[in-house]
């Protein structure tokens, strides 16, 4: 079931929200060893979480986390402009209709095959969310291995600058254009949502 929280959607159940922050801790702190704060030894929460962030969360029938992503408005401080402006050669994209995709998270408990299905479903959900809400582009920073995967989804990507080393990893910033053709581009690249994951009745307003 796809839950969406943020100014355009109804709030999601607190349990789902908590499950997302807990999953983020397992992925970004325990697995990827990011140097980010942890709350109550269980939740990964940073200064960009809050009322201005939007969240897309895929959960199963029991509310358990499958995958999630956080969207940050680019008119407010976000990751690219606040932490990695050097990855952007031209001015950082800032617009009411451009959001930054951050904390794209696939639950560690999933098998490799399920993780890909959830990944694809979340990508399609991001595209549909953009089209439904007038978002014309996403920006994102990715480690170079994940960067290639993002390109492989088939949507229109543009580099924002050269890759640069940060904390022992090679990061790069990109911009993803969302248009009416985006769903077809994703489908052509073999990226499809699993309908049962999205759910017959979404929790979005």
């Amino acid at each position: 079931m796809l839950h969406i929280a943020g100014s355009v959607a109804a709030d999601m159940p607190a349990g789902v929200m908590r499950a997302m922050f807990a999953a983020r801790k397992k992925v970004f702190v325990d697995l990827l060893k990011w140097d980010v704060p942890v709350l109550a030894a269980e939740f990964e929460v940073d200064q960009f979480d809050g009322q201005h962030a939007h969240y897309l969360v895929l959960a199963n029938e029991d509310g358990a986390h499958l995958g999630s992503a956080r969207l940050l408005p680019t008119l407010r401080p976000h990751i690219l402009d606040s932490l990695y402006p050097d990855l952007c050669e031209r001015p950082v994209p800032r617009d009411a209709n451009i959001f930054e995709i951050t904390r794209f998270c696939l639950d560690r408990s999933l098998s490799a095959r399920d993780r890909r299905v959830v990944r694809d479903t979340l990508v399609v959900a991001l595209a549909e969310h953009a089209l439904a809400n007038g978002i014309t582009a996403y920006t994102a920073i990715a480690e170079i291995r994940w960067f290639q995967q993002i390109l492989s989804f088939g949507w229109h990507c543009q580099p924002l600058g050269l890759p640069g080393p940060h904390g022992g990893k090679l990061l790069a910033a990109l911009r993803i254009e969302i248009g009416a053709d985006t769903p077809a581009l994703l489908a052509q690249a073999g990226i499809a949502a699993l309908p049962t994951l999205i759910g017959a009745d979404r929790a979005a307003a």
Binding site: I144, Q149, H156, P159, L170, A172
Partner: protein, 247 residues
Amino acid sequence: MGILPLDQLTELIDGVASADDLMVAMIGLCATLGARCFAITHHVDVARETHPMRLHNYPDRWAEFYDINALGLSDPVHRASHKTSIGFRWSRMPAMIPLTASDLKVLELGREQGIGDGFTVPANVPGEARGSCSFANEAGTSLADEMLPAAQLAGAFAFETARRLWRVRTLDTEEQPVLTDRQRDCVLLAARGKTDGEIAQLLSVSAETVAVHIKNACERYGVYKRSSLMIRTLFDGTFTFSDIFRR
């Protein structure tokens, strides 16, 4: 200030509608980066693939030698690229993988043909054959250090552009698989519900032979299960309903 004009990369992404366009764009990129030639490829044995994804302007003689010897699979550069997700200079290879005597010979032959020094960007998409984009020079000439981030980025976008073009190409020219007589006999009898042992008796061959024929038939169709094979052969007219279900 960027070294690689982002516009040139944008042209690579948006302005390329065919393999020829991509070749032209890559030649321009090589000039900017200081590379003599490039290769974008999936790491497969090209002889066994219907539409191997490969685009390059390496010297012809080297390319021929490469294919005749099916180096696509054993190429030390490719093997090294599976060990990392970041672009690497070929001079780093000895530290990344054990180089055998035949590896060293292959590298030496490449050097003789003008492919001596290079930078390879691994391009690994989960669920697909692994691949890479390489920028190569004659021995003794390397990409400048400050060009490497640009080469990394260009390699990633070039690979994805090639993927996009080859995907369309495969869809457009999907060939119908054709089974041999023996494969056809085995698959038909299996579709009629016979076991491998029964088929073996009817055709006067061993059960193992039957299994091999059916496995090869599966490979021709690119499927892994016999049930998928049955469906495909029914749909493409290899068999008709009456072939299978008549008494």
